[in-house]
Amino acid sequence: MDIPSKTQQFSEFYEREVDGLFRYISFRVKSRQESMDIAQETFCSLWEKFATGSTIISLRAFLYASARNKIIDWYRKKKPLSLEKITEGEDGDILPFEPVDSLAESRIILSSEAKSVLKLIEKLPTHYRDALYLRLVEEMTPKEIGQILEVSAGTISVRITRGLTMIRKELGLTPEPEKT
């Protein structure tokens, strides 16, 4: 496959996935600007691999998996720096607790319903959060989620079911017979 046709294919993929990926990142990073940066980096590295002919089984799974790794990297990079600033400070300056996130314009504005849903998901055990988020919001299949999180589709199904049960319990609803 030559570069122009690859560009065409990747552009279509980008148009389809960019919003979902941005949402996924912003759900973890909580800053619009940072989320955009990470999304851009993720797409860039994927395009590099795609254009140079690396074999990629599922573009979508690869995209989310690499975004996940980039988020983890971002946390690792950010945490020690801000901690240092908080504890020591510079020339007695009082620094805000979270310098980037506190800026109003970079915050992601959410409706109260959306906030409550995110709060519910965040209350879940760590393993369940990603699986449930990707299933409910991005409507991915357990197989796709399994590829991203590097576990089997069966495990993901179990996590989704249990996560939903927990959310229903949290909302005070009785378990329903219908399955997601």
């Binding site: 980008y14 919003d19 860039c44 395009w47 590099e48 319903e113 959306a114 849903v117 909302l171």
Partner: protein
Amino acid sequence: MNQFKKGIEDIRSIQLSAEEKRLLHKHIFSQPLPSPYRKPILLILSRSWVSYSVATLLIVVLIGSSATYAAEQSVPGDIFYPIKIKVTEPARDLLVQTPIARAQWESQKASRRLEEATTLATRNELTPERSQEIEVLFQEHVNAAAKALGTLSSSNASSTIHDLENEFDMTLAEHAHTLRVASQSSSSTRSNTIEERDHAREIQTDEPENRPTQQKVPQEVPGTQILSTTTASTTGQKENSTDSNRDTSSLEKKVEEARKQLRTEELRTRSERDRQERERDRNVSDHNRSPRQESEGME
């Protein structure tokens, strides 16, 4: 439940603006792509364990090669001399395959021994032990060379053998000559030292003539102390040089023997060759004669 669904819908409504999407798209496709034809060696070296092992290998090779180089320059008594004799030369033995190359290499080794002896003689360091060592090795090499020439003579490259033998003989003669020159120069230094010593003795006029050793001089005459120490050292040197003179003479004898050995070898091979030729001639003539005899018998 409806609220929950609405919440999810709201989350889904989080989107990038058209402008942001366009910018991001532009960024992605404007980045330079790395060439797919990256250099494989650099790619391999980027792994840390590979680079470590390559570095270790380089160090080992460097140390090994420098030790070999040092060994090549060494003479008996040096630290690296055993490496030259026991490692590098046997290693080169393995590389030699044909009898011609074998003969050449053995003769080369013999000349190397003589070169070492010459170096030692010029330095006045040719002790009897070293000379003995060199002689043994030299004899081995000469024997091996003669043997290789012997195996050659059974094949039919007579001119090559002749050339090889001549060459070997000439190098041996040459080395014997240089050795003689070296030992002579050392003996001339010896005669110089004798003169010096006589001169020193003349200076010490107040000393009795029948003084058995020179060592007592410094205690009695403080002024001649420096001179007497030089005489002491020169007498030591004198002993050395007589030794080296004797050793080179025995080595020279060895070389002469080797040349004789080669000459007899050459004679032997020549007579062998002649015999073979005569036999062949006889066979041919027999073969030519036999049908006639048969025909005579028939008649």
